[in-house]
């Protein structure tokens, strides 16, 4: 066929642009990750100083008034397992976060998740939302965590 190459290239450019456009439109959603905050080695600086996360009882942040409401976020699957996060909100502030469901496909992911979840919890409490930066070296876990929190927040707002 004459000019077969041109038809192929036109199609390729169109397909490429289409998927790219869809993806960019899609990531304007919550849990936007991608800004590298931690170092490349994956050693989280949060562990280096400060109190051991996960053991400090959450201090009630200023501005949190009214009855506490909780919701469980959706079970988010990610490449190495699934997790779901339960969020407790007072007023419009997140006051507590816990992970009732964590299933991983292999022991390394389990270990990683257990290390990373306390850090993610601190991030969420500091940011008071699901817009967190995540932890480098555990990006899929961080994304799933953020998405589950967002779905829990959506449930609370809709109530």
């Amino acid at each position: 066929m004459r000019r077969a190459g041109w038809y192929l290239i036109t199609g390729a450019v169109a397909g490429f642009a289409g998927v790219l456009g869809l993806h960019i439109g899609g990531t304007a959603a919550p849990a936007a990750l991608g800004q590298p905050v931690r170092g490349e080695t994956g050693t989280p600086p949060a562990l280096a100083g400060g109190s051991a996360p996960g053991t400090t009882p959450p201090a009630t942040p200023a501005g949190a008034t009214g009855p506490a409401r909780s919701a469980a976020g959706a079970v988010e699957p990610y490449g190495y397992g699934q997790l779901s996060v339960t969020v407790t909100v007072r007023g419009d502030r997140i006051v507590a976060v816990s992970v009732p469901v964590l299933r991983t496909v292999d022991p390394y992911s389990q270990q990683l998740a257990q290390q990373v979840i306390p850090m993610l919890r601190s991030e969420v409490l500091a940011a008071h939302s699901a817009q967190i930066h995540g932890v480098s070296g555990a990006t899929y876990t961080s994304e799933a965590y953020a998405q589950s929190i967002q779905s829990a927040l959506d449930k609370l707002h809709s109530r």
């Binding site: 066929m1 077969a4 390729a12 642009a17 289409g18 993806h23």
Partner: protein, 462 residues
């Protein structure tokens, strides 16, 4: 009664076909062009999927670059494998434009890519995950095979693909019987089926992305459906509907026989002159092979005729077929038809048994087509179907040249061909015959300045 090859002058029928024959379906180049755009779009989409699968942070993390390359090679390799399957699924609309031989050529050209890319995919992903987990490479292989969902069967599938790749290397393929190689490479269907699950379970573009999962699944299901429908289903339905059976085997020349078949509802079989079928004669020794033979005349319901030269086991066995043998067919296939013609007139060149396609083409031409026909053969008795061709050429107001003799006696080159055919620039060239002959004529036409789109060829290989 028997079959008489009816070669009518068409004076009363004019340009219309006799009412007994169906209107064949025209090839639509626009459909093929749309197919090309779609194929390209898929490639672009799959590449974009790979690029958007990881964020910048993930890329910079340990193992990020290798995992990215693994995603890219996996997605593009699988896509190309699906394309290859589609190329040989014999979708009629595509086949009519590109022809079975054109599709096979692209299928063979693409072939090394999916296998190499998918092998690279396995390697890169393993390296990437090993780096992310800070584990050794071999340990990571063990982990992935035992603990990640569906990776073990996908690896079996990859092994089958690698095996097919090895067996298809020219050095090894030459040592195998053609049927053996072909049966081995059919296992590609199994290999692809085995590797489907792990993509949706583990691929970062798919986990948690319902739209991408749906599109991917639909693409696979669609490909499988097309293969089942057109590669397997349609031939079975046609064979059952038309119930072809051998009626007579006639000697046409030294080593050449015509097989006349009868069938029902042949007026519903859309055949254009020059097309062929894959023939599966249902005898104990031949039922498992399907070989391509061209129809040597347009159908005359209830008769179909093919003319075969004994050059191998199967074609020699055709001469010994007994009347009443049932026949299963796949087809009609082929783009070597009048629809390929672009210029007002045609030059038809055939050598040996290549005259079969030419004879059907001639019958399909309009009354005042005025073709020039060159028949090439070593001895006069090698020019089979000569009388029919001569009559048809006369009725179409054309010229016939018999070029009989050895290769030293008859020379077709840049001087002799224009002398035989002075108005070569106004003619499409159709050439049919053994592969070496076809290559010679095609090269000669190129040297004489005939554009490639005006040269149509059908080579008969063993």
């Amino acid at each position: 009664m028997g079959y008489e090859s009816v070669v009518a002058p068409r004076s009363r029928q004019g340009r219309k076909r006799p009412r007994a024959l169906p209107e064949p379906r025209r090839p639509r180049p626009a459909l093929a062009r749309a197919g090309l755009v779609a194929a390209g779009a898929g490639l672009g989409a799959v590449t974009a999927l790979a690029i958007t699968a990881e964020t910048g942070a993930e890329l910079r993390a340990p193992g990020g670059a290798a995992t990215f390359l693994g995603s890219l090679t996996g997605l593009v390799g699988t896509y190309l494998a699906l394309l290859m399957v589609l190329l040989v699924s014999r979708i009629p609309a595509i086949e009519r434009v590109l022809g079975q031989d054109g599709l096979l050529r692209w299928h063979r050209r693409l072939a090394p890519w999916p296998i190499s890319l998918l092998l690279a995919h396995a390697l890169f992903i393993t390296i990437g995950y090993a780096q992310a987990a800070r584990a050794g490479l071999w340990h990571q292989v063990g982990v992935m095979l035992t603990r990640y969902p569906d990776v073990l069967i996908a690896t079996v599938g990859l092994g089958i693909m690698a095996g097919i790749g090895v067996v298809s290397l020219r050095a090894i393929r030459r040592r195998l019987r053609r049927e053996t190689w072909w049966l081995i490479h059919l296992y590609m269907y199994l290999a692809l089926a085995l590797s489907f699950a792990h993509v949706l379970a583990l691929g970062p573009s798919f986990v948690g992305h319902p739209l991408t999962r749906i599109v991917w699944s639909v693409a696979w299901a669609g490909t499988a459906g097309l293969v089942l429908c057109y590669r397997f289903g349609l031939p079975v339905v046609r064979s059952m509907r038309h119930r072809l059976a051998v009626a007579e085997v006639r000697q046409e020349g030294p080593g050449v026989v015509s097989v006349i078949c009868t069938g029902r509802n042949l007026d519903k079989l859309p055949i254009t002159g020059g097309q062929f079928f894959f023939w599966r004669f249902l005898t104990r020794s031949m039922w498992w092979q399907a070989h391509p033979y061209t129809l040597s005349a347009l159908p005359q319901p209830p008769y179909l005729r093919l003319t075969v030269k004994a050059v191998g086991d199967h074609s020699a066995a055709v001469a010994r077929l007994r009347p009443g043998t049932r026949v299963a067919v796949e087809g009609p296939y082929g783009a070597f038809t009048k629809y390929a013609q672009q210029r007002p007139q045609a030059l038809l060149v055939a050598a040996g048994i290549g005259v079969t396609a030419l004879r059907s083409l001639l019958e399909d031409m309009p009354r005042n087509a005025a073709p020039v026909v060159l028949l090439r053969g070593t001895r006069p008795e090698d020019l089979v179907l000569h009388k029919e061709v001569a009559d048809l050429v006369r009725y179409r107001r054309g010229r016939l040249h018999d070029l009989v003799g050895t290769r030293e006696q008859v020379v077709l080159d840049e001087r002799s061909l224009p002398r035989l055919v002075p108005d070569l620039h106004r003619r499409d060239i159709y050439v049919c015959g053994p592969e070496s002959f076809v290559t010679t004529i095609v090269d000669l036409a190129a040297r004489l300045g005939v554009p490639a789109e005006a040269v149509h060829h059908e080579a008969y290989a063993l």
